[in-house]
C-alpha cells in the first residue's frame, strides 16, 4: 500500500475528530488514520492498526491536537510522529503560542469550528503542501502563516473596484475599461489560483446564504453552463456592496 496521501489525525475530542476525518477522507481525498489518543483506527473501515505497522508504513502527515501531544510522548509512540513527514499541531483559543515541539513541526491556531476556523481552500492548500514533493515555503501556506482572511472575497471586491473605476482611469490608461469588461479580467487571477474549486472556495469563505449577485458572477467567471451572459454593469456594484456588508460584520 502506498504512503502517498495518508494522514494521521489525533484528537481526543470525538466530534471534532470525526469532522476532520470526514473532511480529509472525503473532499481532500486522503486515506485517514484516526486516533483519539490511545487507539489507531482506519477511518474508512474502522479497522484497528498496530502501532508498529504504522511506524513501518507511516502517513505523510499528522494533524495533532495540542492537548493530545502528551499521549504520544512515550518513546514507542513518539516514533510514529517522527516517522511522519510533516506534523501540524492545531487547537487553542486563537492566542498565538507555539508549544515545546520539534522545530520541524508546524502549528495552526484553530482547526475547525468557531472564530478563525480554517476554510476549504485553506485545507486544500495544506493538503497540497503535505503531498507535494516540492512544497511552497510554509510562510506561503495560509494556515501555517496564520492567515485566515477571506482572500477570494477580497480579491473579487478589488476586481469589482477596478471594473467600476475603469472610466476614471481612461486618461491614465486608455485600455482600462476594455480590460475590465473582459472575462479574463476576473478569471485569470481567480481560476489560476482556485482551479475548478473557485465556486466552492468563494462559498466557503462566504458561509451560508451567498447572495445571487455573487453566485452569478462567480459562476460566470467559472464558465458554468447557463451563465454565459451576465449584465456586468448591473451586477458588479451589487457584488461589491454585498462583500463590503459581509466583511464589515
Amino acid at each position: 500500500m502506498s504512503n502517498k496521501n495518508k494522514i494521521l489525525i489525533i484528537d481526543s475530542t470525538a466530534n471534532r475528530r470525526k469532522e476532520l476525518c470526514k473532511l480529509w477522507s472525503g473532499d481532500l481525498g486522503y486515506e485517514v488514520v484516526s486516533s483519539g489518543g490511545d487507539d489507531l483506527v482506519n477511518f474508512h473501515d474502522e479497522r484497528e492498526i498496530a502501532l508498529q505497522n504504522l511506524v513501518n508504513n507511516p502517513p505523510i502527515a499528522c494533524l495533532l491536537h495540542q492537548n493530545d501531544k502528551l499521549r504520544f510522548d512515550d518513546p514507542e509512540r513518539s516514533k510514529l510522529l517522527e516517522a511522519c513527514r510533516r506534523v501540524v499541531v492545531f487547537g487553542g483559543a486563537g492566542i498565538s503560542a507555539r508549544g515545546d515541539w520539534p522545530d520541524r513541526w508546524s502549528w495552526i491556531p484553530r482547526a475547525i469550528n468557531g472564530k478563525a476556523s480554517a476554510n476549504y481552500r485553506q485545507w486544500k492548500q495544506l493538503a497540497d503542501w503535505f503531498s507535494s514533493e516540492t512544497p511552497l515555503p510554509a510562510a506561503q501556506v495560509d494556515l501555517l502563516s496564520r492567515g485566515n482572511e477571506p482572500r477570494f472575497l477580497i480579491a473579487i471586491h478589488i476586481l469589482c473596484q477596478g471594473f467600476l473605476v475603469g472610466d476614471r482611469m481612461r486618461e491614465r490608461l486608455p485600455t482600462a475599461v476594455e480590460q475590465t469588461r473582459n472575462r479574463k479580467w476576473w478569471c485569470v487571477p481567480l481560476v489560476e489560483s482556485a482551479g475548478d474549486s473557485l465556486f466552492k472556495t468563494v462559498q466557503s469563505e462566504w458561509g451560508p446564504d451567498m447572495p445571487d449577485s455573487l453566485t452569478t458572477l462567480v459562476k460566470w467567471i467559472s464558465e458554468e453552463p447557463g451563465y454565459e451572459n451576465v449584465d456586468l454593469p448591473r451586477i458588479v456594484p451589487a457584488v461589491k456592496q454585498e462583500i463590503e456588508n459581509r466583511l464589515s460584520k
Binding site: S96, Q140, D142, S145, R146, G147, E149, R151, F152, I154, A155, H157, I158, Q161, G162, V165, R168, M169, R172, L173, T175, A176, Q179, K184, W185, V188, P189, L190, E192, S193, A194, I243, E244, L247, S248
Partner: protein, 169 residues
C-alpha cells in the same frame, strides 16, 4: 497585515488597557488618599516604565500603518498575485489610492501620533510634579493631573480600537 494587527492588538490590550489604564486608576486612588502607597514609586512601576516600553512601538505602529494595511499587499499573495502585468500596471496603485481616500489612513496615523505625543509630554510632567510633592496625598492638582492622563490613555486605546472596526477593504 496579520503581524501589524497583532502588534496593534497586543499594544492596545496588553500595555494600554491592561497596564497603563489600571496604572492611572491606581495613581488616582493614591493621590486622592483612598489607597496608601508611595506615589512616585508606584508611578515609576505602573506608568513610567510601561510607557517607556510602549511609546516607541506605538510610533512604529503608526509609521508603518499605511504600508502594512494597504490593499496593495493583496497583489503579493494568492489569488491576485496571478493578475497579468497589464493589470498590475495600474490596479494596485488605484486600489491603494481609493483605500487611502476612503478611510483617511494618514489622518488616523497622524491623530495616533498626536495622542502618543500628548502622553509623551504628560508622563514626565506628572513625574516632575510628584517629585515636587514627595509623598503627598489628597492633592487636588495631582488628582486632576492623573484624571487627565487617564483620559488621554483612554483616548489612545479608543483610537487603537478604531482601526479594528474600520473595513480593511
Amino acid at each position: 497585515m496579520p503581524e501589524w494587527n497583532e502588534l496593534r492588538a497586543r499594544l492596545n490590550h496588553d500595555l494600554v488597557k491592561n497596564r497603563l489604564l489600571p496604572g492611572t486608576a491606581r495613581m488616582i486612588r493614591i493621590v486622592s488618599g483612598s489607597v496608601l502607597a508611595d506615589p512616585l514609586e508606584t508611578f515609576d512601576c505602573t506608568i513610567a516604565t510601561v510607557w517607556k516600553e510602549t511609546s516607541p512601538s506605538l510610533q512604529v505602529l503608526f509609521d508603518t500603518c499605511e504600508s502594512a494595511l494597504s490593499p496593495r499587499n493583496y497583489f503579493l499573495v494568492e489569488p491576485l498575485v496571478h493578475c497579468p502585468p497589464s493589470t498590475m500596471e495600474w490596479l494596485p496603485d488605484i486600489i491603494h489610492e481609493l483605500w487611502v481616500e476612503r478611510h483617511d489612513i494618514p489622518g488616523w496615523c497622524n491623530n495616533g501620533k498626536l495622542l502618543v505625543a500628548e502622553i509623551d509630554t504628560a508622563v514626565p510632567n506628572a513625574r516632575n510634579l510628584l517629585e515636587l510633592h514627595p509623598g503627598e496625598t489628597q492633592s487636588a492638582d495631582l488628582v486632576e493631573l492623573f484624571l487627565d492622563l487617564q483620559k488621554r490613555t483612554t483616548n489612545l486605546s479608543a483610537h487603537l480600537s478604531m482601526i479594528e472596526r474600520k473595513s480593511l477593504l
